[in-house]
């Protein structure tokens, strides 16, 4: 079964350690501009949402690439850029609906999440588990559980109200 990054943004504290370890892991430097993951912030509201590649099935980046430089890794299922073929036209950056295909102005290359070869460092370092690496079919599970909890709480509240009437 393929595994994917599951992001529960509500848990994110906004610390951006994921951005730091991503750039260190891939490039040996600290620089969020090189990070494959980025925490989008609405600081005035206290809202933080980590954004990364969804590894789409029908991937726009792969479809749009004029030289077929983007392909899917057979073992782990992530989309990968072959820099020997890539011409740096940034069409993939333009079409990605999540902004997850990045462009690095220092090396003049597009870059994206490669799941760190199966041991995503963003997941490893996120103590609050805002990012987890799970089987693709489990992604909606925590939402089901949250919703179920709300349902059950509402039912209990309703019953209590009825009893009080």
């Amino acid at each position: 079964m393929e595994k994917v990054l599951m992001i529960n943004y509500q848990k994110c504290t906004g610390c951006r350690l994921c951005e730091l370890v991503c750039s260190v892991m891939h490039d040996g430097v600290s620089n969020p501009a090189r990070s494959r993951i980025k925490v989008m912030k609405w600081e005035a509201e206290g809202l933080y949402v980590p954004m990364s590649c969804q590894q789409c099935e029908d991937a726009p980046c792969m479809n749009v690439c004029p030289v077929k430089a983007i392909s899917r890794d057979e073992d782990l299922g992530f989309l990968t850029v072959d820099y020997d073929i890539c011409i740096g036209c940034r069409s993939c950056v333009a079409v990605c609906p999540f902004g997850a295909m990045n462009y690095n102005i220092i090396d003049k290359k597009v870059f994206k999440c490669d799941l760190c070869g199966g041991d995503p460092q963003c997941v490893r370092f996120c103590e609050v588990k805002a990012i987890e690496y799970v089987d693709a079919d489990r992604v909606s599970n925590y939402k089901k559980k949250d919703a179920a909890e709300r349902l059950s709480a509402a039912q209990k509240e309703g019953a209590a109200l009825q009893a009080a009437m």
Binding site: R16, V24, S30, A44, G46, I106, E127, V128
Partner: protein, 646 residues
């Protein structure tokens, strides 16, 4: 490389900007952050300079490890001569400003002069520009940050800014970034205001090469596990620092009613669990946030639950806001704490100092030293929430005689108010104490009396003294990295061996401030947290700098001596009640009246305190007046100061 980050000298009078590298020999002597700031301050200001004049230097820095692959290195440091104390001004802040400064190519800024009109400094990938701040002047701390982002068209810009309090030269105005992060103490925002400097805005995308990236990454994981496994940090990450206030209050170690009492009774509405409830009600179950790359996440998010400010978003309230707007003025309403915390964050003022100043005024009012005429009719009694919040406004905007007077800081205000008002000002070196009571804990009393920036808990507090750790554990901590075989006591009420603990912690805190690490990641609150033996590895993997624990200790000691030299130059005298290493008479003369059996009736024994102070000086190899001996200065390589290496 972290080591290739530069230093910039910015003269706001002339507009001149000079950028220089930081020589390796300077790194080896002072590392970076607060330590190098102290060197720069001593070298770039004249004796007796006016804190609000163009001759004062405002120094802004990141730690040497900031934005490397080391956890919780978000700290920015600010230094200048303090307009509050006329001695060392020094304040430290978390958030996301310092890493951005490092990615923009800089570790230290030395800002001198005074701009003719309001300006802000814009730093972007190695370039520095002084820009007009006419449109931004007058804005709150957050509006200032958003306005700069709008103007420059980049929402990733991080700014260190002042609010109205800094503009109005309130001597305890702070510098802020984000919603809550503050360089709170000693009036660094007032220095910015005096230079017509509204903000320093930074943005950087320059690589910081990690010397040994694979090892740095692995070691960081180990470091984080060590930090998050400590119970104290798990609790910090759930309840934030209010948990410390709550625990200390239940024992009897907080200040209330301007130090008349050491425990706030019937404080259910401001207990940490209640504060957490409001945060959860207004922000949901996940309402903790943190600074850059930190896994402790000690800061809560909330919206003011009710009252005129209902619905306003903010972060905190931390220990100090609970003290300032809860315990100390004896107000005890969650709404007041949340509202007061929001006001100080927006206006940019030190919550600790303003809370203490207002509580001092409340006691003076109840004693009749301040009258209705002085307060313009405000009923400034303890427990009057409305009067408390009104005074925050009056001080920040210097409204009315009392607001204007208190905005000058404790010592000038005491002179203006006259009578015996000074006796009730709970301060050291002109700065008010944390809202805690140290009468039952001699070690902590010595810490606040000798802290280099005036009464303070973040310069040398042996807070772990309260845990009654076995002597074996204390021995392990306190006899490394240099040997110590003198007395150590697990009993917090003892005087024996405490001078060594304070001396050791002073070096420990200086070391983390040079590295740029948060104090929750060292033995401040947890005995198992990293200290000298752990830092050489993190320093080596990230910067390539090879240093032993002893060498880091030596640097810390050197930098503490630099701060001492600055204070002595500016008039520190051992027993001077306004500029010395001593405490308000209440510590000695008025025993604690509330709390647990081990604290009721406690006060500091003056004779034993003086002996402890003598020992503290001896550990430093200072003379009996607290002056470093020529031999000590020579050993530390400080006998030629100012030496103008940078």
């Amino acid at each position: 490389m972290a080591l290739n980050r530069k230093i910039a000298y910015i003269d706001l009078s002339t507009g001149d900007i000079e950028i220089k590298p930081i020589p390796l020999e300077v790194r080896k002597k002072f590392l970076g952050g607060r330590g190098l700031d102290a060197y720069l301050l001593l070298n770039h200001t004249e004796k007796g300079c006016d804190p609000l004049g163009p001759g004062n230097a405002l120094i802004i820095s990141a730690g040497i490890l900031t934005a490397t692959c080391a956890s919780a290195t978000a700290r920015a440091h600010f230094m200048a001569k303090s307009p509050l104390t006329n001695l060392l001004g020094s304040a430290n802040m978390g958030g996301f400003f310092a890493p951005e400064l490092a990615w923009a190519g800089f570790h230290h800024l030395v800002i001198k002069g005074k701009a003719e009109k309001p300006v802000y400094i814009w730093i972007h990938n190695g370039e520095i520009e002084i820009r007009d701040a006419g449109q931004i002047w007058g804005k709150t701390t957050t509006d200032t940050q958003w306005a700069i982002r709008d103007e420059l068209g980049d929402e990733d810009i991080k700014s260190a800014v002042i609010g109205p309090a800094g503009e109005n030269l309130v001597t305890f105005a702070n510098i802020m970034t984000g919603i809550k992060n503050s360089a709170g103490r000693t009036g660094m925002g007032c220095v910015m205001g005096s230079k017509n400097l509204k903000a320093v805005a930074v943005r950087g995308t320059m690589d910081i090469e990690i010397a040994h990236p694979v090892e740095a990454l692995e070691y960081n994981k180990q470091f984080i596990d060590q930090i998050t496994s400590a119970k104290v940090n798990q609790t910090q990450g759930t309840l934030g620092t209010p948990f410390i206030w709550g625990a200390t209050n239940s024992w009897g170690g907080v200040r209330t009613r301007n130090f008349q009492y050491n425990q706030c009774e019937d404080a259910d509405d401001i207990e940490p669990e209640r504060i957490d409830e409001v945060c959860e009600e207004t922000m949901g179950p996940y309402h903790m946030t943190g600074c850059f790359a930190c896994q402790v996440h000690c800061r809560a998010q909330y919206k003011v639950p009710s009252g005129p400010l209902a619905g306003k978003y903010d972060e905190g309230p931390e220990y100090t806001s609970l003290g300032a707007f809860g315990g100390e003025p004896d107000c005890k309403n969650a709404e007041t704490v949340f509202a007061g915390n929001h006001l100080v964050d927006q206006y940019g003022v030190d919550n600790l100092e303003i809370g203490s100043m207002i509580s001092w005024a409340m006691e003076l009012y109840e004693l009749g030293i301040l009258t209705n005429k002085d307060t313009d009719g405000l009923d400034l009694k303890f427990g009057n929430d409305e009067a408390l919040l009104e005074m925050v406004e009056r001080i920040c905007f210097r409204k009315g005689w009392l607001g204007d007077t208190l905005a000058d800081g404790g010592l000038p205000a005491a002179e203006k108010i006259g009578k015996n008002s000074f006796d009730y000002l709970i301060q050291v070196k002109g700065m008010n104490n944390l809202h805690s009571d140290e009468r039952g804990t001699p070690a902590l009393a010595l810490n606040i009396a000798t802290a280099s920036r005036g009464s303070d808990h973040l310069r040398s507090r042996p807070a772990i003294d309260l845990y009654h750790l076995p002597e074996k554990v204390l021995r392990k901590i306190y006899s490394n990295p240099i040997p110590y075989d003198g007395p150590l006591s697990s009993e917090h009420t003892d005087y024996e061996g405490k001078a060594w603990e304070v001396y050791w912690q002073e070096n420990c805190y200086m070391a983390v401030d040079c590295l740029g690490i948060c104090k929750y990641h060292t033995v401040f609150l947890g005995a198992t947290l990293p200290n000298f033996e752990d830092w050489p590895k993190v320093l080596y993997y990230n910067t390539g700098l090879e240093m032993s624990p002893e060498e880091i200790w030596d640097i810390a000691e050197r930098c503490n001596n630099l701060e001492r030299l600055f204070n002595l130059r500016e008039g520190l005298k051992r027993d001077d009640l306004k500029k010395g290493d001593t405490l308000n008479h209440r510590y000695f003369d008025e025993p604690c009246r509330r709390g647990a059996p081990d604290i009721i009736g406690m006060s500091i024994d003056r004779k034993k305190f003086n002996k402890m102070l003598d020992e503290f000086y001896e550990h430093h190899n200072w003379d009996k007046n607290g002056v470093p001996t020529p031999k000590t200065l020579k050993r530390l390589g400080l006998d030629q100061e100012p030496s103008h290496l940078v």
